[in-house]
């Protein structure tokens, strides 16, 4: 028998792992501080403030996630004690057989069965998602931006939204960046709503540019500048989330949602999966994505109108 293939009792064999988490755990970073433990997430803080999040398999992964079976997640959770200065050592995790999750943006040109659709069709898809999202009447965070009565935070975001909309419609990255700076660390939540909103905006931008086959290097530079700002202005968890945007590696459910929308495969299931991210983050991410897709598609409509016959 090959003992390397056997899961030993007390050891954890992740089901899948994000590329950044894999890199961190295999390059020799064995010790981490226990940052926080929630019902469905354990955040471990490595050097350079990199967080790796362990989650049970029913949750979608990001590039810094380790996905475990329910049993392994509970084993890990019970082995971790949270107290000031608590440390965690990776040794019980066996990564040899773990699937590395590829979250890179696909090449749409080579995407199987993918057809580029008229802008109006995509706008219809955004509209359907907006209606479905609106029917949930989410009043917290920045979700009311898309409709409904505002709150303290949407009022504070109002001016930035105007600037963002205009910049998205003209695709001015400097303006987009300046507007998004105004959302960093804004609002309630462990990842403040503004940060989740930025994450959704960047995901939509990255996927839309990929869909349009545009060079994303300048977008990466913008995302990097946002991450640098986030390092000073928001929580460690948010900073990690925004830093992961630079490489265009978004959460699995965010990726699936963007691809489905751009393929006009409307399904509430894609939306529901995004809404399951965090406790309320999913709603703010969805708000950012729908706001951005809508604005970008408005611009496309204008361009189409301008186009001579």
């Amino acid at each position: 028998m090959n003992w390397d293939k056997v899961k030993k009792p007390g050891y954890i064999l992740p089901i899948s792992i994000g590329s950044k988490a894999y890199e961190m755990l295999t390059k020799g970073s064995e010790r981490a501080a226990v940052h926080s433990v929630f019902r469905n997430a354990i955040n471990l803080q490595y050097e350079d403030d990199y967080l790796i999040t362990a989650m049970p398999e029913s949750f979608s992964a990001s590039c810094q996630s380790v996905i475990l079976s329910e049993a392994d997640f509970n084993t890990l959770k019970s082995s971790i004690t949270v107290f000031d200065g608590a440390q965690y050592t990776n040794s019980p995790m066996l990564l040899q057989k773990t699937r590395i999750i590829d979250l890179s943006i696909p090449d749409f040109e080579k995407f199987p069965a993918f057809k580029k659709l008229p802008v109006e069709v995509l706008k219809e898809a955004v509209k359907s998602y907006k209606e479905a999202f609106g029917s949930k009447s989410i009043a917290s965070g920045l979700a009311p931006i898309l409709g409904g009565s505002g709150n303290l935070y949407t009022e504070a975001a109002d001016r930035g939204l105007q600037e963002l909309k205009e910049s998205l419609c003209s695709e001015r990255l400097e303006g987009i960046k300046a507007a998004l700076f105004g959302f960093i660390g804004l609002g309630p939540g462990l990842t403040p709503s503004g940060d989740d909103f930025i994450y959704g905006c960047l995901a939509a931008l990255y996927y839309f540019w990929a869909y349009k086959d545009k060079d994303r290097s300048i977008l990466e530079k913008t995302a990097a500048e946002i991450a640098v700002m986030a390092n000073k202005k928001t929580t460690i968890i948010s900073y990690n989330m925004l830093r992961s945007c630079i490489a265009g590696e978004f959460n699995e459910s965010v990726r699936d949602f963007c691809i489905s929308l751009l393929n006009s495969k409307y399904s509430e299931a894609f939306m529901e999966k995004v809404l399951r991210i965090g406790s309320s983050s999913g709603a703010d991410i969805m708000t950012g994505m729908l706001f951005t897709f809508e604005s970008l598609l408005d611009k496309e409509v204008k361009n189409e109108i301008k186009m001579p016959n």
Binding site: G185, G278, S279
Partner: protein, 522 residues
């Protein structure tokens, strides 16, 4: 309107919890507005816009939680703080979630009526948390090792001053008011109280008491160093006093490696003062001293259990005269099994190899074997010259404690993870002079969920290798467990017997059986 705020440094709560807090605080009469946010710059700007920024909130970092409130009368702020603390510490199961208090302080607030804290942390942090628990007037079971002896002395001194139990460091077993803690077996409730400086020693006594029809009132662990001169038996004495005050406890059992003489005398004096009957198993220690104090000495863990059960209904003198049966099964049946195993051994097979997960069980095997057969090598030898030679994992007659530090660096204890023992069993294939493989199989809470199941494949493999070259490997296992244990005792026995393992109900019986087989061939 006044503004007040509460800052929780480096506090991480999910958004649902924070929303609940916002709502609850806003519902307090006299509160006009409440904002619960992380202390980011933008949130501070927002607080400024609504008149809630002050010096305290200005100083918060992005990783601090701010609870800012605008209220009519600041005298209600204390009750708001209390409400927030209650909400943060309250059991989330009410909202469909389990609650894991993030710190000892929050655990104490969450469950103020609790009176015992179990601590299992890396050694360098463990002592500080244990001290915190003791200062909160909680008893402590400290599972962690790597606590210095000075720290242990300090912790135990605090415990004695406050009338608390400080079980550990390195305390693996206890059973308080019939609640098993750490590694412990499911045993009947009864009148026998144990104070043990040995984890598997205490487990084996508990299990055997259960098998002999007795029951446990309390089992108090002290940690292995308690009877060293530096600690002076502080917790064994505290444990004895606790059992003296416990009305359920009629008979006391002490178990420990042989203590320093002055410590032994101190402990026995306190035991005498309780007026309760007692069995003392200072494993391999001075029987005369125990007898001088009017207590019953025991040569094995099983004997300690047997005599303790008898003491519940008999006098000390009556029990002193009792002989413990060598085997639970009928002598003829045992002899038949011995002969059957011995007859299969080939010429030249003459050594016993013990691979133990329990340190005290290994120590007991060494003592019983030495008494009957002579020298046996080990990583925890009875004499320095019997330490296993360097680079030799096995040497002549050998018994290894696989729970010792050298085998557990970077991996769980062998009672949880059988990997090291599996590898060692497979390596026996080349030991042509080995006749007997002796094992312990420890059941109960904390142990592997299927300890026998994790070993049978390797046993089968190594037995097949012996068979293939015309030899036989006699495998003998002592089970430390009860029918109430979560692993299913009968199923564990069945799995072992299916692979030809001779299963005995105690470690002492397993060792005796192995010795009998060896005697047949030597």
């Amino acid at each position: 309107m006044k503004s007040k705020c509460l800052i929780k440094k480096n506090s991480y709560y999910d958004s649902v919890t924070l929303m609940i807090i916002t709502k609850e605080v806003e519902s307090v009469q006299g509160v006009e507005n409440a904002v619960v946010v992380m202390g980011t710059e933008h949130n501070k700007e927002l607080l400024n816009n609504v008149g809630l920024l002050n010096d305290e909130t200005s100083a918060a970092s992005p990783n601090d939680l701010i609870i800012a409130v605008k209220l009519e009368d600041d005298s209600i702020f204390d009750s708001i703080v209390q409400k927030v603390d209650e909400l943060l510490n309250k059991k989330r199961s009410e909202a469909g979630e389990d609650y894991y208090p993030p710190t000892l302080d929050s655990a104490v607030k969450h469950l103020p009526e609790s009176n015992l804290v179990i601590i299992s942390l890396p050694g360098q942090y463990a002592a500080a948390e244990a001290k915190k628990a003791l200062l909160n007037d909680k008893h402590v079971l400290l599972f962690s090792d790597n606590v210095t002896i000075d720290q242990e002395k300090e912790l135990k001194t605090i415990a004695v001053e406050r009338g608390l139990l400080m079980m550990g460091p390195d305390c693996g077993t206890a059973c308080i008011n019939n609640v098993p803690l750490a590694f412990a077996n499911v045993v009947k409730k009864g009148c026998i109280g144990i104070v043990g400086a040995s984890g598997t020693g205490t487990q084996e006594i508990m299990v055997q008491i259960d098998k002999f029809g007795g029951g446990i009132s309390q089992a108090i662990g002290t940690g292995g160093r308690d009877l060293k001169a530096e600690i002076g038996g502080l917790m064994m004495i505290q444990g004895i006093e606790a059992l003296a005050a416990d009305e359920e406890t009629k008979v006391i059992v002490l178990v420990s490696k042989p203590p320093a003489l002055e410590v032994a005398e101190k402990v026995l004096k306190v035991l005498k003062s309780t007026g309760k009957k007692a069995v003392v198993d200072f494993i391999g220690g001075d029987d005369k001293l125990v007898l001088d104090y009017g207590f019953i000495p025991a040569a094995t863990l099983e004997e300690a259990a047997y005599k303790a059960v008898e003491l519940c209904s008999k006098s000390v003198d009556e029990v002193l005269g009792l002989e413990v049966p060598e085997f639970t099964k009928a002598t003829a049946e045992v002899e038949k099994a011995v002969k059957a195993e011995a007859s299969k051994l080939a010429k030249g097979q003459k050594y016993l190899i013990g691979l133990y997960s329990g340190g005290t069980l290994c120590d007991e095997a060494l003592k019983l074997f030495t008494k009957e057969m002579g020298d046996i090598y080990s990583n925890i030898p009875l004499k320095p010259e019997l330490r296993l030679p360097e680079n030799a994992e096995i040497y002549k007659n050998t018994a290894i404690d696989l729970g010792d530090d050298e085998y557990t660096v970077g991996r769980p204890h062998p009672m949880i993870d059988s990997y090291t023992r599996q590898q060692m069993i497979l390596k026996l294939e080349k030991e042509q002079e080995a006749a007997i493989l002796l094992l312990d199989v420890v059941l109960g809470y904390g142990s592997n969920e299927d300890p026998a199941g994790t070993l049978v494949e390797q046993i089968k493999s190594v037995k097949a290798s012996f068979d293939a070259r015309g030899q036989h490997l006699c495998v003998v296992a002592g089970i430390c467990g009860t029918k109430g244990d979560p692993q299913d005792y009968s199923e564990q026995v069945r799995k072992l017997e299916a692979e030809g393992v001779v299963v005995l109900p105690s470690n002492a019986q397993a060792v005796r059986f192995a010795i009998k087989v060896l005697r047949e061939v030597l």
